[in-house]
Amino acid sequence: MKVFIFLLITFNTFFLVTKTAHAQLRNQPTSVPVTIQESLTEEASGEAEKIAVPQEDLTKPEEIRQKEEILSLFEKRLVEQPKPINIIAFTVQKAVHSGVPANTIILILLLPFLATGVAFFRYIIGLPSLEMLVPVALAVSLIATGLTAGFIILTAIMLASFVARFILKKVHILQIPKKALSLLVVSVFVFLALMGSAIENLIIVKQLSIFPILLFILLSDKIVSLQLKKNVSETILITGVTIVLGVLGFFFLSLPSIRNFILLYPETILVLIPVNLLIGRYLGLRATEFFRFRLVRQNADQ
């Protein structure tokens, strides 16, 4: 129980830290065109007042004003004729001109970066996360709900998964009904969390899209199976790493400088090919293994 309370506190401190970091990052002057900069400061002041101004949802198609900003962004790199060297940039700009939302393109182009990040964490750093799907989906859902709502729902899910573990470990029933029951617990907790935050005015629940919330709940299935299978410390490590990865992914997906950059220079995704080939052929020790095998290494040095 103590461990549990401690965890919740750590988790929420982590949230506050990320939240402030996020706000600060958004306030930082970036090298984006003037028009974008203006809109940013507007938005940042909106952020300061919190709930007053609705935060823009980066998963939705942009408004006309933002669309114009993006079109003016393209003036920084004019590609009128497709050439082998700029074919990707040309395609992207053409897509935006013919009506594909820039937000959509940005998210699609940035997802492989997130996946590479997950691979890097696993094979170079050596921290286990929940497969590829969960951290990436977590990042995207956080983008859709915003940090505050995302963390409220995540806290509810974590609480629910511990409760589900506590109850269901003792219930001798088959596996899938067990998971269905745990989903019931999670749904109730998420519902209560949303109701609570609506009453307390923490977030504007009205503006939350249902799909990211559903995605969160479905992801909880993975956390609960982890809970039922592994012991507490392993669950905490794996879920912790997954959430940190999700939050890092959230920052990555929401930083205006990165978003503008990938839209202007979509060729950057090609960098991922050599990067992944390198990660895939890294046969040295993972960072965490330097600690794990310290006894062997001390002996070998003698």
């Binding site: 094979y123 050596g126 001798h172 029933i173 088959l174 596996q175 899938i176 199976s225 039922l228 299978k229 012991n231 052929r281 890294y282 046969l283 040295g284 020790l285 993972r286 293994e289 794990r292 095998f293 006894l295 062997v296 290494r297 001390q298 002996n299 070998a300």
Partner: protein, 436 residues
């Protein structure tokens, strides 16, 4: 090629060894413990007995639970991992059983546990699985001394018939009897040549004593080490895997048995031995090995540890005359005895027996010796020969006219090799060599 001194990490293990030498079909085979068991049996490798396989719900419903052995059994998932889903019973009474922790489990609870297994609660990706009942292993007393709970085993990593590294795994109370290191079992490194333990880890920290005991982790000599190595190598060959970890358990009734074969043996064995697997594997990667014996020989000579170099592992060769220590209730006496493979029983001089104060047994033994037929009195005799304690029934005779007060017969010479040439003659041969 330079040999890397660095530790073998997960990336290198997966890429350089598992992907390269372990074909998927064989990995799949050893991941299924029932198929592994059949494979071992086919290759005449000892393994705990399979009692019953539960493939579907009907087999659980129609099973005659009373047919389970009263002295206990173990329920396991065929494709479980990390020791999950294993449920041992130390006794079974028609419709309920007791676990090693004295917990009572009813037949209904057991059925529901087997349902869980079939439904994939403990299999690698929650895929539907098969459950089976296996004979309960009564741990050999030698290993029982090391821990009160669970099933200690020896993990040996074998690469192309060569034993690479070995580790004794001892469950503690914390692991609930499981021998997995990451669950908190003790891992003790074993030197390949001598079978003597060297160093240990417990929860990834070095330890000097086995937890809850006063036994030092260093210097435990594993009994019948050679046959254990042989079992491990045979298991690797049978599995079809190039790089495998064999888990060997010690059944009090049947001796060492292969419990399972692992296609992705863990890396913590390096911590237990304080040695890199990578440098050992690289040294033997391209060595062709023709037989089990040759593989063991190569492993022993390549991975011998400097510290234990002076220890002799071969069988000791005794000469015809050996000093033995006779022990009685009151005192010990050292005498020179003649090892006589021509005699069946050990015999000692009457006066020596009197001196030791051993009272003759009531039973007399009929002897046919070169001197004719005789009835001789007998005594219970305890003595120590070349470090081995022997307790036997010896005959008593008047040997005052003979050179040695005691002869040791072939009944008490089991396990020794005897050089029939007396020491003096060997010296003479040495002299001849020197002349040339």
């Amino acid at each position: 090629m330079p040999i890397s001194k660095s530790v073998l990490g997960m990336n290198a293990r997966n890429f350089n060894y598992i992907q390269k030498y372990n074909r998927r079909e064989y990995i799949k085979l050893v991941d299924n413990k029932i198929r592994t068991k059949r494979l071992l049996l086919k290759n005449k490798i000892p393994t705990p007995k399979l009692l019953k396989v539960f493939r579907d719900r009907n087999q659980i419903r129609n099973f005659d639970w009373q047919s389970l052995p009263k002295e206990g059994f173990v329920i396991k998932p065929a494709r479980g991992y990390g020791g999950e889903g294993i449920l041992p019973f130390i006794s079974w009474h028609k419709d309920f059983g007791k676990t090693p922790l004295e917990e009572e489990i009813s037949q209904i609870e057991l059925e529901s546990h087997i349902f869980d297994i079939l439904d994939g609660s403990y299999s690698i990706q929650n895929l539907p699985d098969i459950a089976y009942a296996e004979e309960l292993i009564i741990t050999d007393p030698f290993y029982r001394k090391l821990t009160k709970v669970g099933l200690p085993d020896i993990r040996i990593i074998v690469f192309h018939k060569i034993p690479i590294m070995a580790m004794l795994r001892i469950p503690t109370r914390e692991t609930g009897g499981k021998a997995n290191l990451h669950m908190g079992a003790v891992g003790i490194g074993i030197e390949i040549r001598t079978g003597i333990t060297t160093s240990a880890i417990f929860k990834n920290n070095p330890i000097k004593f086995i937890p809850h005991t006063k036994i030092k982790v260093k210097g435990i000599k594993i009994p019948s080490w050679n046959s254990i190595l042989k079992l491990a190598v045979e298991a690797q060959i049978a599995s079809g895997l190039g790089y495998a970890g064999a888990d060997i358990v010690f059944n009090a009734k049947n001796g060492p048995q292969v419990l399972e074969i692992n296609a992705r043996p863990g890396l913590a064995i390096q911590n237990a031995n304080r040695t890199s697997l990578r440098s050992r594997l690289e040294r033997v990667e391209n060595v062709p090995v023709t037989s089990v014996e040759r593989g063991i020989e190569i492993g022993k000579s390549l991975f011998a540890e400097h510290k234990l170099e002076h220890l002799d592992t071969g069988q000791k060769v005794l000469s015809i005359l050996e000093e033995v220590t006779l022990t009685s209730n009151s005192f010990n006496e050292n005498v020179k005895a003649k090892l006589d493979t021509g005699a069946y029983r050990t015999s000692i001089d009457k006066r020596l027996a009197e001196k030791l104060g051993i009272t003759p047994l009531s039973k007399k033994i009929h002897i046919s010796a070169a001197s004719g037929q005789q009835e001789r009195p007998t005594v219970r005799l305890n003595f120590r020969l070349s470090g081995k304690n022997i307790s036997t029934i010896a005959t008593v005779a008047d040997r005052s006219h003979l050179t040695y007060p005691m002869i040791i017969g072939r009944k008490d010479l089991k396990g020794f090799l005897i050089n029939p040439v007396p020491d003096e003659e060997i010296e003479e041969i040495d002299d001849l060599d020197n002349l040339e």
